[in-house]
Symmetry: C2
């Protein structure tokens, strides 16, 4: 049993694992990883803050892993193939594994926005990125990135 008294004080990760050139423009995304500190392994928990202008990820969908978002602070725009939807505090969003409607969150406001993001930790996963020449494979917990034609990124 582990208690985190102030999750906003957990040091954030600001880097991404995307290959170039898709790793740029994520400076305003602060992911505070709570999972290991909580002693959990079956699903991942991040407390994520997006500064104005920042985005959660490239628009994507997961083949194997359910994903859950709970809005805590500020306003974000949820972008899917169906358009844009405004998210405000206390709203909840579910992205079921295998739902091919790619999504991401964008902060188009003047204030920071913070949410909980929780996703299953599957050893194997395929991620499809809807708008760019990128897909990801996770095998045994390790991600590799490919062009849509199957060639690997460096």
């Amino acid at each position: 049993m582990a208690v985190i008294h102030d999750p906003m004080r957990v040091p954030p990760r600001t880097t991404t694992i995307y290959p170039k050139p898709f790793d740029e423009g994520f400076e305003g995304r602060l992911k505070r990883p709570l999972t290991d500190r909580l002693g959990l392994t079956q699903f991942g928990v991040n407390l994520t803050t997006l500064e104005p202008g920042a985005q959660s990820s490239h628009r994507h969908w997961h083949e194997e892993e359910d994903e859950f978002i709970y809005m805590l602070e500020g306003e974000l725009v949820l972008v899917t193939k169906d358009g844009e939807q405004l998210l405000k505090p206390s709203m909840a969003v579910g992205f079921a594994a295998g739902d091919r409607n790619g999504h991401h969150l964008v902060n188009k406001s003047r204030y920071r926005a913070t949410y909980l993001e929780i996703g299953t930790r599957s050893p194997n996963e395929d991620v499809t990125y809807a708008d760019i020449d990128l897909r990801a494979e996770k095998r045994g917990g390790r991600y590799r990135f490919f062009h849509t034609n199957g060639e690997p990124y460096e």
Copy 2:
């Protein structure tokens, strides 16, 4: 993809699946089940409110399923074998599968308290209750309850 605009308006469940006499005293526990509405299956998400005097469950631990709590509103007392600990909004707690330190949450305040609770959905599970003559087995998604001597409850 599914959005719940106001999770507090989801009809709450106030019943328990405990056998008699352990099903009494849960009137002030309101579990708002978000999982199905979000289209998720791999982990369960409840928005749970405890009125003054209410408790989350009997003190227990899970053999197979990770559990996560995020405090949203009010104050609760986390009770484990190590004693009591006060939980306030924005605090996060993790209960790892197999950690034999039974826990539950009790509202000892004068105000309602609300939290997100998220747990892995394993088809099979064993739950041990620390303080009472009860244990639970989930097989194929269905719970059955037993005395600690192995005799089933009706």
